[in-house]
Amino acid sequence: MKKTTLLTGLLAGSAMLISQGALAASCGEIVIGSAISLTGKYATNGVHAQKGYEYAITKIRENGGVKVGGKCYNFKVIYYDDESKGDRGATLAERLISQDKVQYMLGPYSSGLTKAIAPITEKYQIPMVEAEGASRSLFNKGYKYLFAVLSTSEQYLASAVSLAAEKAKEQGKSPSSVKVAIAVENDPFSLDIRAGVSEDAAKFGMKVVVDEKLPRDLSDMSAILTKVKLLKPDLLIVSGHSKGAATAVRQIKEQNIKVPMIAITHCEAADVTGKFGDAANDFLCSTQWSETLAYKDSLFGTAAEYEIGFKNAYPEYKAKKVPYQTAQATAAVYVYKDAFERANSLDKEKVRDALTKTDMQTFYGGIKFSKAGNNIAKPMVLRQIQNGEYNVVAPSAFASHKLNWPRN
């Protein structure tokens, strides 16, 4: 088994090299810039996103490149490491645009970095398709060159709140009796998660009993967990990218916290099942994309095929889930290909206009941008880790498994 995969991997690799050599000669190049977190606190996900970009580029190259005006082009991305710092990201965006003269940008990782970079691309009227900035605060500044393929943050855990309400009803209690505890990172993404959860909780009349921010390094939330232990909430929400997820799972186990329902973000990206095993069971994880969903397109195939293809290209992902951060990064590049071909031009204004008219089905889901630039054609799903497997439990249209409740 292992040998054959190795062999196919090698074959695929050499085939890739050959096709690369053959096609590169005849195709032109479209240069895209991206500042991405390769070091610093967002490095895990920055790398996930970068691999997603690269996979899409290879795949597009293998399939004949981007066709513009009868010629073929391949994408090439100039990356800089933004060290997970906003001011650094902004400087690098400036450098990409004015010194490297890039005409198109791919987004950085995290809402915070996107917030720092979007004003710069907007200033120079450089289109940026981003895949990793979900905070709604990005889409209310009237940006005309910002396009996001992912769903906005408030949708991440909305189904968790309604699930909690449902469960309360099943128990013969009013949803307003549900107590919610929230612990989030102090950054645009997680603050928007918090805003979304508070709005939803208020709708049901639920009481938020703990509402705290994680410390800046996200490495210790035991003080918050002590309060959780005392106040016994029915729903615990934690959001802090990969680091926050890992800390939550580890310390919830260490401190022996019993809450009927715990919902967090970034489970797959942090590989909580691989790192913590059983301790991660019954956590609810929000996800932008799941390989079990029935999306597909002509380039990457179905969602499941995308996962297999990606694992073959990057064997280090063999043993874990391909995180949605990677899938949406791939989708962002795909959106560019589509826009270039529809614009049939390399002029950035024409490409930008084509981007606004994007309406496509992909392995990642539907992509259609609102006037503000966020994707309005794709729902979020909620998965639960059940015996080490990620199973979709909400919303009901996509659910493949029943919710395990209460959590041990």
């Binding site: 490095a43 490495s219 003080a223």
Partner: protein, 303 residues
Amino acid sequence: MDQVLSNLSLLLEFPIVNLKIILDGIMIGALFALAAYGLALVWGVMNVKNLAQGDFVIAGGYVSWWLVQHGFPALLGVPAAFIVMWGIGWVAYKLVISRVIERDLFTSLLATFGLAIMLAQIMNLLFGSDTQSVDLGYKTLYFFDGIVNIPIAKLIGVLMAAALATGVIIFMKTSRMGQAIRATAQDARAARVMGIDTEKVYAFTFSLNSAICGAAGAIIVMVWVIQPFYGISYAIRAFVIVTAAGLGNLPGVIAAGLGIGVFEQYGAHIFGISYQQAIAVLLLLLVLIFRLIQQRRNRQVLK
């Protein structure tokens, strides 16, 4: 505001939480006290205000972490960090500190700040910017329905800190070098006249400080986490403690260290952990203002 009130009411509703907070505070405070004692030493003996104090702590932590990564037992990290940081402290003394002793006070502050930036960045380049820790694999003891929990690793850490502090005190009281250090602190000129090689005393004191910090860091990495840029928060706390306790007052330093540990834990509980750093800094300002008012009162008496 509601949050603050409900957090306060938690303290009354579940009095046992107070015990947990106090225990946590004492455990972290013990390590603050170590770093602060080192600072009081160099401040008192050679009048150097070392802002790189916290980075020495973190560097010690990395020494221990590196050893564990290479298969050495974790407890060996503490003496190893002590020795390695002794060497680094000595180099720092010879290159930088020895030249700022006689200069005005701001000079030492700024020079050590430069040193702090360098150290932090070198650690970042060597070890990456992720948080690191050493897991001793010991159990955690739970009391009172799991609300109070004491990891055995923390207990060991505190005991080691206490042992180190005791060792240093005995050394200062009984050894020849300890006497020389105390003599130099009292009056460097007189000490020189009496035949004490103050240059040697300075170098020794600074290295000792660095080594104490390093050992504290090696304990911290077993119990909490370290990260290249955490130095400043330990430096701030060391300054708060020394400013509050005064120089040459070891029991005062220990008491202030434990005090600030407990105070911070209460602050974090009441206002939220995200205020922890702010609370430490505000405490520093309060101590400074308090000292100021004290001085003013003294002045009025003199009039």
